[in-house]
Symmetry: C2
Subunit: 572 residues, 2 copies
């Protein structure tokens, strides 16, 4: 059994190493059961124990970049007992959460934020005249992100010492790309030879940081000694400590397959990944259309594009975790007549917002943005839900937004996209479970999937269409004629179809926040009429972790709820 | 007279220098008349002439970062005759515009995009097997932005040679901050001594770029020779050419006052800057509240904060053009109980979108975002208009959005903000012209400025309130009772007030895009009722350059238009 808050400082190195084994087993057992991030957490066990041994949390503050490495920290700070609820609704979050514990001082989830946050916290400490240590732990994958560089640029300006630990496992989610990574590699090699180290004025020292490395982050005793020494130095000056850890350490399968075991899903069901359809369709397109180029920002395999990248290396670009840059590269490619496909998770697309507005849409360039993990994505929680994309995209002029009802329609959209010639966003969830039969696809035109004269449910995306069709059947049994409209283009609205529905009671359904989404666009379309419209969508709050179905239920997006509404209101 | 497209290659150096004088005079005359960016353009005359002499535009492609240095380029590429229409409605844009000329291959306006765009264009060239040169010209101010670093990281990965010219004038808009700038300084000094240059492995070379510098960008002949040589080298490898130019070169007043002459406004009228109120009020607050900290991303003087920065240096942070980082620093400060005020232009806030969602609002931290140049900002055009902020902010949970009706209400909002304790955004235009009398301010509560039982205009911001009050008076004269409601909080909506208006015909007005703005929130609020609502807001298109009044007229936001609607529809 793990103690709730183990008193590390009283333990011997042997006892601490024993504790590491226990922690590692606890992490493996829990993640295999609940899903979660395995290999990055396994690599961080000794380093985290050393940090807790040397520093005094929660007085000292630690920020885990992205947060994929915080499980040991959670197990050492009073959350061992509840750890079995990891990533479950109302359970322990897979990411640092201020709301969960005073040991978590800053919430993370998106890459590259830890150094900026640490500088802010350290500056606050100095303004208040307090005296604690601030530590950012950042993986080498995050290191490509521009935020890191923006933060480095202000280390001297802000002038409040922090400790930055680079947790270098030569891996972000897919193998790290980019020159900074190669630079880190070079430093490691040089340091292993212990040659020329002192003469080497590193990039980091240019920015006013003392660079110190490379050390073995899985050597507990070595880490304790090094951190004890560094703790003194950061009283006066920011230090960057470069540590190598082994992703998946202590679990052979992970060590050999770090990419497959980065994120483990909790259960497997029969489904088709939209990503697989993306990859296969882009390959099909690329075979005959020389203009097709695929662009990713570090998630190539999870987006279904590994095979495309192998088959068309000269037309494949993975820029690393640099979503802003990726969007502009696409715009540049498009100005020269190519047809870039930018594949990205919904939540990380938020990082490209300004570039979608200014570079892609203001220039009206034919870039297709393929948005995976749209809508509720599940157990990763707030920072990974994709419930905002319809909202932050619908406000952008010149952009067409498509939401396929199933993987077959997704494929059709992709096949037509190369000749569409304008900015296009297609959003979809990770998995597809059903298909609804084929129908002609015309850009900007909706599709009537079921007839009925009393009510019309305007819905988009597979999850919503599934519910809508079930609802139509149920209320049909009670004598209410319920049409189901596949609003496969959220922008532009199919106004011809909308006009044809004005005699019906209208219900909208979407896997997105209400504000700015399909429902609010329909509301505004009818604002000058006396039409009554009921919107089913997510309320104005951040959606926590839980399973997709649990969360949809929690927010009232369910067959029962929609049926109830229609049965009560259809004849109003 | 300037030739339309001067045949530079046939001219002698003496003739070219003469041309430079003419170009400089044309720029000074036009900007003094029309407003625009003066000093940065004056510094670029010789370098641009040299580029046009050595390269072959439009076959070769050039991207001007931000675009504040493109006037000479415009004058050399067929736009000399129309140059007198610079920044005027339907005239020549102050920024590169693809729609305007084939010599402009990529539109810019926001900092740091040029290298990413150049890499995309060069990659397209190589995919297509074509053979032209791609050049990015970027100022040292943009150099702090994380995009530059993201682009550097993929120079090797993308592997398509480009030329990057650093136009180093030791100035962005305010004096450049940050370590990269100091690094550039250091390189210059070293190179002026011509010492140790070869042994110096620069940051740039780490990224797979040949670094070459420092050269005098105002020395036309020297530049022609250097560019001719570099043109050969970029056939096989990306080169970064470091050039020093003198901001305001050739116009003594500018040379001595580069900051004041960065942007020149076209005419001056009697007004109060909202920025002045921001600065003065934050100073007032800071005097008694030790928690107040001001954070900017490179626009400190234009935001009205110069005096605050002088008075409270330890509580002032200018991070340079790094809007993403700035937002996270604020979040970090707030986690420690401080009260950061992040002042920023509306359009540049787009760069902080992901960080406002994840770092500030998801953590529900008391950061106040002060959004200047909100709504139509005028002659800078598409990339500088602030018509999207209500839309991209309204979708974010936990965020309160305030829109003061005048500078007095702005001051009140600021005075109350420090104890508000939650994320808050306050948006306002550059200038205030009127005040409307005082009234108690309660967070989340609207204010009735004029009574009337037939129609209610729900409006936000000084420009809209002004129009609404005039409209109410005019239609009142025709016997229509028109209430005017100051919707000073766009989020949350004042639902109590909204409920009290249900007997009236409702009209909304805002200085923002319709989608996602005040109007669409009101539409959605009433979606389940048969209420008829008319929204006045900007349509779903990018707003070009022109004066604020011309553009508001163009989009139907005028006293006449709103009166017409009400007179026709009020009794419907």
């Amino acid at each position: 059994m793990l103690e709730d808050i183990p008193q590390l400082k009283n333990k011997s190195i042997a006892e601490l190493n024993e504790l590491c084994d226990k922690l590692r087993n606890k992490i493996i057992d829990t993640v295999m059961e609940n899903g979660g991030h395995l290999s990055s957490n396994l690599g961080m066990v000794e380093l985290t124990v050393a940090l807790h041994y040397v520093f005094d949390f929660p007085e000292d503050k630690i920020i885990y970049d992205v947060g994929h490495q915080c499980y040991t920290h959670k197990l050492l700070s009073g959350r061992a007992k509840e750890f079995g609820t990891l990533r479950k609704l109302c359970g322990i979050s897979g990411f640092p959460k201020r709301e969960e514990s005073e040991y978590d001082c800053y919430n993370t989830g998106h890459a590259g934020t830890s150094i900026s946050a640490a500088l802010g916290i350290a500056k606050a400490r100095d303004i208040k005249g307090e005296n604690f240590n601030v530590i950012a732990v950042i993986g080498d994958g995050s290191f490509n992100n521009g935020l890191v560089y923006e933060a480095f640029n202000s280390v001297s300006e802000i002038n409040s010492p922090i400790l930055i630990i680079i947790n270098d496992n030569h891996m972000s989610i897919s193998p790290t790309v980019g020159s900074m990574h190669e630079y880190l590699e070079k430093l490691s090699a040089e340091n292993e030879q212990r040659a020329k180290k002192k003469r080497h004025e590193t990039i980091f020292e240019r920015f006013g940081l003392d660079y110190d490395g490379v050390y073995d982050g899985n050597d507990l005793e070595g880490m304790i000694n090094k951190l004890t020494e560094v703790k003194e130095r950061i009283k006066t000056r920011s230090v960057i400590l470069h540590v190598l850890t082994k992703k998946g350490k202590g679990y052979l399968y992970c060590e050999q397959n770090p990419q497959e075991t980065h994120g483990i899903s909790a259960g497997r069901h029969k489904s088709t990944d939209y990503g697989a359809v993306l990859g296969e369709t882009l390959e099909e397109l690329a075979a005959t259309d020389k203009r097709v180029v695929a662009v990713t920002a570090a998630m190539t395999p999870s987006l279904g594009l590994s095979s495309f990248f192998e088959k068309y290396p000269s037309r494949s670009i993975d820029v690393g975790i640099c979503e802003s840059h990726a969007a502009i590269v696409c715009a540049g490619l498009a100005t020269e007549g190519l047809r870039p496909y930018y594949a990205v998770y919904s939540t990380f697309l938020q990082r490209s917002f300004d570039q979608i507005v200014e570079d892609i849409c203001s220039q009206n360039l034919p870039v297709t943005i393929c948005i995976d993990r749209a809508g509720i994505s599940g157990s990763d929680g707030e920072t990974h839900q994709g419930e905002f994309d319809l909202s932050f995209l619908s406000l952008i002029p010149n952009l067409t937004i498509a939401v396929p009802k199933d993987t077959e329609e997704f494929k059709k959209m992709l096949l037509l996209s190369a000749d569409y010639g304008k900015p296009l966003a297609i959003r979809y969830p990770k998995e597809g479970f059903r298909t609804f039969g084929s129908c002609e696809l015309v850009f900007g035109k909706w599709e009537m999937l079921a007839g009925g004269e009393d009510v019309a449910i305007i819905a988009c995306g597979e999850r919503m269409i599934s519910i809508a069709l079930s609802v139509a059947k149920i209320v049909g049994g009670q004598g209410i004629g319920c049409a189901v409209v596949n609003a496969r283009f959220v922008k532009p609205l199919d106004t011809e179809m909308l006009e044809s529905l004005t005699q019906r009671h209208i219900v909208t359904m979407e896997d997105n926040a209400l504000i700015g989404g399909l429902g609010s666009l329909v509301d505004s379309y009818f604002s000058e009429s006396d039409k009554i419209i009921k919107n089913f969508a997510y309320p104005d709050e951040f959606i926590p972790h839980g399973s997709v179905n649990e969360l949809m239920q929690k927010y009232g997006i369910s067959i029962n709820n929609v049926c109830d509404y229609i049965l009560k209101n259809a004849n109003r």
